[in-house]
Symmetry: C2
Subunit: 247 residues, 2 copies
């Protein structure tokens, strides 16, 4: 969308349509909930055919920027970050070891979020984090349910930061992160000692938020991540050994 600015009439129709929306959205002329001009009228105004206009409208709709309602009209939507979960999955899935690397993005967002949560979390936030901590502990022996609870626990912390940009980024990675949680659980869930440590580590993370100590919370969370890394490293070594002996 960031094209070199040339005479609008010389630009391909599709780019003129995109520019039309971009300008009006950024100018505030079109706001969430506004109804835009009907397709046939807009096509005439932009001097394009309706099929081409619909191509762009569909694109913007798939991003959530437009809310197209059959028989009613087309409205400016609230940009939907959920669509990005798929996109990020596509984007990053073309990379090797992406689940491992996603940990970096997760650590980046969560460590900053937990710092903010220490000062911004309200009673409802703390209650929600505590609730997911409870569910997590109950489901320690179940990789699927435990992985989901683990994800929700961490997502509650990010939500407690009350930072729109952090929750947006976290939401964009949600599908990959959730997959990562479940995969991690599957490599470790059979070891009761590890499982016990896992619950304990999450409890300490929670308590550090309650204590409202940003540096400590950041540290506890990093320790939690490091424990998880170490656990998986040992599991891999053990699996490798078993594999060698079997050979």
């Amino acid at each position: 969308m960031n094209e070199v600015l040339v005479s609008e009439s010389k630009q391909p129709g599709s780019k003129r349509i995109v520019a039309y929306f971009k300008e009006r959205l950024l100018r505030g002329e079109l706001k969430v909930g506004d109804r835009i001009m009907p397709e046939r009228e807009l096509a005439v105004e932009l001097e394009v055919g309706r099929p081409l206009l619909r191509e762009v409208l569909r694109s913007l709709s798939m991003l959530g920027l437009l809310d197209v309602r059959h028989g009613s009209g087309t409205y400016i939507g609230k940009a939907d970050i959920r669509v990005l979960s798929d996109f990020f999955t596509f984007c990053l899935s073309q990379e090797q070891d992406i689940l491992d690397d996603t940990m970096q993005a997760r650590m980046a967002i969560e460590c900053q979020a937990i710092r903010l949560a220490c000062s911004r979390a309200n009673e409802a936030d703390l209650a929600r984090i505590g609730q997911w901590l409870g569910v997590l502990i109950k489901t320690l022996g179940d990789p699927e349910e435990g992985g989901k609870a683990d994800f929700m626990f961490h997502q509650s912390i990010v939500a407690a930061s009350h930072s729109r940009s952090l929750t947006t980024l976290y939401g964009a990675l949600a599908e990959l992160l959730q997959l990562s949680h479940v995969e991690r659980r599957k490599t470790t869930y059979r070891n009761p000692e590890i499982i016990g440590d896992l619950g304990e580590a999450h409890r300490e993370v929670f308590l550090s938020i309650v204590a409202k100590d940003p540096d400590q919370a950041d540290q506890r969370l990093r320790e939690h991540f490091a424990i998880g890394d170490e656990v998986r490293r040992k599991s891999l070594i053990e699996a490798y050994r078993k594999g060698s002996e079997g050979a």
Copy 2:
């Protein structure tokens, strides 16, 4: 794209088209660089009209997932994160004080990236960071050029992390971050003392990477952000006082 799975033939045409691509991309049947079936053939196979197919192809193309070449064919693209810069800008620009909040996302990504850069940065990375440090110092008195150099300095650090997910997220926020850099400079550039401190702070950040000390690098970067916040707080207070006296 995460729709409830129903009989494919009963789904609207557009959803079937999206599902067609999603399945084949995730299955690895379609890889970057592959050429897909010509439009007219694909329309027949999916039992949709060509205009509808083009609507979805245009959408996927705008996300960079498809590389459509006039007269040549349609190829699977490498998902282009640059498109997300605009989308994130739309997404987050619907929020109040978004430039301020974007700082949180920036801090999250950069503080994690700089930790990784301490162990992963190679000679070329360090040279590039140093180069942008030089440009930054030369352009301290120019908000536009200095803002760009500042952004590039920080972006080089993120690149030096060699983390695909962090660079992807940072790229998605690039437009907002760059705007943020320039805006910050505009509030402070007239004060020579602040400007001097700015150059010095960046130098210390750079040196901490060279020293390969993750905790120190993280701390220096946070101090740098804190100094920037303090500077802007003072500038706002001063502007407010002047405003009051003028009233």
